[in-house]
Symmetry: C2
């Protein structure tokens, strides 16, 4: 069905008709000039927003719309978890070009709702409009945290332990795999003189499912925030790893006015990531440091929390915070000392 | 200066360096994974969002970037006022293509900040990225209202008076003027064989300043909300007029399950709007009903508030709410009865 048959209000009504509100803090959702929320006195309110543009942030030649919806929501939840909070509401604005159908947008919304249901988040509003070019997605997420307990980037202190959840570099490897298959596809298309109906070799992703899932369907670490609360651990600083470990760690150091010392041997890697890096002839540590899009958490805790942290599953200590003048360094497996560089993904920076 | 010289983080830092926080509810602004807000128990929190795309919502051939920044903020404030609330914070996401410089974005931000200062709003966050095509602007506004006092669209009751602030149709006339001059410019350019350096006839907007300002620099009606509060008037329903009076009134009637009867002779028009409509050979009432972008307020009040309303400057009663089965009608000057039609601006709807 063509979107113009429904129009803007019709499309919004259609897509949000199955939205159920789950949160006490949501008083009124979609359908008025504003959503109405109520947060109790003992909570602070968190707000984060992300703009995702086709051709810059995602490539629909290999990203299914349902996955895109899921990931678009997840990257926003991740920012709320990175403050030690819980996401509660999102607004979703979409700019949609003519090549998308109502069914396409249903797919996108299915992914969005799947993510929202899994994380207890309400879709409370948004804006839908036509776009002259590709798909534009703007999501704002609102969450809450105990008053005064938001974990910022500027609280790391000398001697604090640096911790990372899960493993790093897998999402980047997944992206490399998808990009390689895309190149193969276009090469075949060229050989077939642009005839898409001819049979092509299908991509063989057997055994690579984990890497693809890390790229296409990341999971924000709600579980870690709940565990930290349960164990009474208040991180001194925290961020989510969206642009790469190196870049995020440098943000924490700069905003906390300190240095850091991390150890290559402690950076958590999955076996598949390492083996894929080898196949691609890439340095796996570089992938883990600069890859980005893992949506794991990077945080620091006081040394007194060391024992509690050691008992936490899926959290690794990778180094510690130093004085600013000691620099931001990586100690390699052979004991060499390297300055960390932020080579994180930065679409506005000139790479030359 | 090229934006790529600063990069994403550099650009955000540069643009937000002069932002001063004005609101008690803003605990932490730009610079972390989330902004941190705190709202007291006696307030409800309002959230609204707007996505503005170049070529769909604005045309940079005649809209200066500073005005665009101002208007982008204002249309969001207007949604908060339309709930009877006060805007407090915004997040600003920008997708910027290569043809924009740092100075361009400074212009945009200047307009944004001017609007924010005038309405007491803090810029607390956002996202800045490159765009493959034009300029993308996504703004989310957060505001507050006394708990339980948000004015929704579904509260209009039979017998309520229908009120409109300011005057209608002027923004639409301003747009027609700008579009006409754009056409003249391109015609001249064609005659000059694309040589932009040749002298061209300058547009003559003398005497049309009011219409242009209504289009380029709309003012959200904070003053009216403050007056309503001061006089103890709680509207039964309210919206801002962004898509045209007809369309908005139909939303209120549908959501409140009622009808309406409005009178052509009471629809507030400015003299310049009427005279420009005549020059363009357009029906001024049609412009007022369907023009949109006036950002005036449309609201209903109980009949018992009639005397209070009559004393309010810049508010006009244009009709009253009826039973749903009586339809949504306009009574013309000669006493004819017409069904209202929503011909509001709807970029997703097929116009045929």
């Amino acid at each position: 069905m063509k979107i113009e048959e429904l129009g803007e209000f019709g499309l919004i009504k259609h897509l949000t008709s199955t939205v159920k509100l789950q949160n006490h803090s949501t008083q009124k959702g979609v359908g008025d000039d504003c959503a109405v929320l109520h947060y109790p006195q003992e909570k602070d309110v968190l707000v984060t927003t992300d703009l995702l543009l086709e051709g810059v942030h995602f490539d629909l030649t290999y990203v299914p719309l349902k996955h895109l919806g899921y990931k678009s929501a997840m990257v926003n939840f991740s920012d709320v978890y990175a403050m030690g909070g819980m996401p509660r509401q999102i607004t979703v604005s979409l700019g949609i070009s003519q090549r998308f159908s109502v069914e396409d947008m249903e797919e996108f919304y299915n992914g969005l709702q799947l993510a929202c249901e899994a994380h207890g988040v309400d879709i409370v509003g948004g804006d839908t409009t036509s776009s002259m070019t590709g798909l534009t997605i703007s999501i704002t997420c609102i969450g809450d945290v105990e008053k005064g307990k938001a974990v910022c980037r500027d609280g790391a202190k000398q001697g604090d332990l640096i911790c990372v959840t899960g493993n790093l570099g897998a999402a980047y490897m997944g992206l490399q795999l998808l990009e390689r298959e895309k190149a193969v596809y276009y090469q075949q298309l060229q050989e077939h003189h642009g005839n898409e109906t001819l049979e092509m070799a299908q991509p063989d992703f057997a055994g690579k499912e984990y890497l693809l899932e890390r790229q296409l369907k990341p999971e924000a670490r709600r579980d870690i925030i709940l565990k930290l609360q349960e164990k009474g651990i208040q991180p001194t600083s925290m961020m989510d790893i969206s642009d790469g470990l190196s870049s995020e760690l440098m943000h924490i150091c700069e905003q906390s006015n300190c240095g850091c010392r991390i150890y290559e041997e402690h950076i958590p890697l999955d076996y598949e990531t390492a083996s894929q890096a080898e196949e691609f002839n890439m340095n796996v540590t570089t992938c883990a440091l600069n890859g980005g899009e893992d949506y794991e958490l990077l945080f620091t805790v006081a040394l007194t929390d060391k024992e509690k942290i050691e008992k936490l599953e899926d959290v690794r200590m990778i180094g510690y915070i130093t004085k600013a003048e000691d620099g931001k360094v990586l100690i390699t497996r052979d004991g060499s000392v390297f300055d960390l560089k932020a080579q994180g993904w930065n679409p506005l920076k000139n790479e030359s």
